[in-house]
Symmetry: C2
Subunit: 327 residues, 2 copies
């Protein structure tokens, strides 16, 4: 919770810029989950967003600015949704896109990028490998890099999802006590912190217990690299949070919840079978924290369901055999 509303004003201006460019995704209620948790859950269904993830918001805001400044093209590196979001956003602005992916990138993400018309370059398997190639390409082609974490437009753009959620809940006569957001590199939680500024809404971060990068950063007072355990939440695998989002969120966050793998899997199943929404494990991580804490968070709890890009094989294995999916 922050008292100044500078952040929410910035997010509000971003929301105006994005109006008509992104879908105003619905806020879904689920009587079963309300009864099970003993609180009213307001599920912001960004799994239904363009491109299947809230990341299109930050990507569009960043590329709109690049296009306005006469940028020639866009470069992004990512293992997942950020690359797809940047490619979609850049196409809208008429900008060429090159994305640098690891050699072991998921086939369906590579295919999707091809469909969008992005040029795909693969480079090793580590972040360092990708950044080296990114630098080469930037010098050669003169494209601008849209970083998933260290870019204020990206963070502010992600914050518009939370701002919309707050507005939609108020429109229904509710008032959020807390909002639960998953933490990967940190852009979602930093955006949420900006969006709630000036309001009495707690921001709760949920991260896989296997990759406690934000908790470690809070402990050290700065982003540190953690030993990254295995998690099904592919979107939350960064083993270090970004410096920019950490700087925004460190004092504004109210609570960080480490979520066990089994709880992520349970929440994904609950979202699918009870809320009838297909969400990716990152989104399920936030839902799991909300289910776990329930009334401790207040009467009205928002959950940012960040995306819905899931491998079909993960859905079937989670439904058929919860244990197998976790090994």
């Amino acid at each position: 919770m922050q008292t100044s509303s500078v952040g929410s004003d910035e997010v509000g201006r971003a929301a105006q810029r994005l109006a008509g460019l992104v879908w105003r995704t619905p806020v879904v209620r689920c009587d079963f989950l309300d009864a099970a948790t003993g609180t009213r859950l307001w599920l912001k269904a960004e799994n239904l967003q363009l491109g299947g993830s809230f990341k299109i918001r930050g990507a569009l805001l960043a590329t709109t600015r690049l296009a306005a400044c006469g940028g020639r093209g866009v470069l992004a590196q990512s293992t997942g949704n950020h690359a797809i979001a940047v490619a979609l956003a850049a196409r809208r602005q008429g900008l060429a896109t090159t994305v640098v992916l690891p050699e072991d990138a998921l086939p369906n993400k590579v295919r999707r990028l091809g469909e969008i018309g992005a040029r795909v370059v693969t480079a090793g398997t580590t972040l360092a490998d990708r950044l080296a190639v990114l630098d080469e390409l930037r010098e050669r082609d003169g494209y601008s890099v849209v970083d998933p974490y260290e870019n204020r437009s990206v963070v502010v753009g992600q914050g518009t999802a939370t701002a919309e959620l707050i507005e939609q809940v108020e429109h229904e006569g509710g008032r959020l006590d807390a909002i639960v957001v998953p933490i990967g590199g940190g852009s979602a939680i930093a955006g949420a912190c900006l969006a709630v500024s000036g309001r009495a809404i707690d921001v709760v971060g949920a991260e896989p217990a296997a990759v406690p990068a934000f908790a470690a950063a809070l402990g050290a007072g700065r982003p540190v690299t953690v030993p990254a355990g295995l998690t099904i939440a592919d979107g939350l695998r960064p083993d270090r949070v970004g410096a920019l989002p950490f700087g925004i969120a460190r004092d504004a966050v109210d609570r960080i919840v480490p979520v066990p793998e089994a709880a992520i899997a349970d929440a994904l199943r609950a979202a699918l079978l009870h809320a009838r929404l297909l969400v990716e494990p990152a989104a399920a991580t936030a839902l799991a924290a909300a289910i776990d804490l329930g009334p401790e968070l207040g009467d009205d709890v928002g959950v940012l369901l960040t995306g819905g890009n899931v491998e079909t094989s993960l859905i079937t294995s989670l439904l058929a055999d919860p244990v197998a999916a976790l090994t």
Copy 2:
């Protein structure tokens, strides 16, 4: 298409009565499906409705009237969503409910009815078995029967889903050319016909090719019993449409589409993997017709996704092995 707006006025009054009692479910857009079909699809996500199905609308309208007239309790027979909807609706009105189910009813539906607090009576496997027991119970307990088809409140209530869809599309600056609705006993399509009356919106009915009850009724000029083939669309298994809904819809419907089983399965997968919505096979039947006809239906096509009550085993088998699920 009808020229008089008597029907839509009646649906409008019902919508006012239901305001605040049911959820205003979102209309979901999906860029992938738009690109695949060559038309703009507006998916009315009643799978996200209270109780997981649009049937709560008609059930609430009917039971509200019963409660206002001093009814003692409610009786319903059904193999599926109608029983759950009536039990939920009656509980809201403080009315006791007894539901009569076939002996081979799906276990998760029986469990759900128990959770809601309804008394469950099982009777044989045929409609005739259930109706005989229903008559006995009505005489003994003095409860009122809420029929899934031959009850005008039910039909008008179901129509409010279509009315809401039309309004939501207009709010987004669109104008529907057609709406596609699945046909089981006929309450959804009859409700849709009432809701569009006075507007230039085509009503398209989708029924499993395996159970072509509405097409047969149109051919015969009255409801007739058809040999019911196997279909995964359990909500669309009635082998005869209701006389009341048929009378409303017969001249108002613009087109009936027989949908093969494989297309129902494909549409269910598409809804899940691309629109990220879990829908039941009945809803997928309507989506399949919209996908098949695409631009033939116009530029803006509404699809009534009637519900999301699916057996987990059907999801896994459809995702794992499309062929197995159909045998």
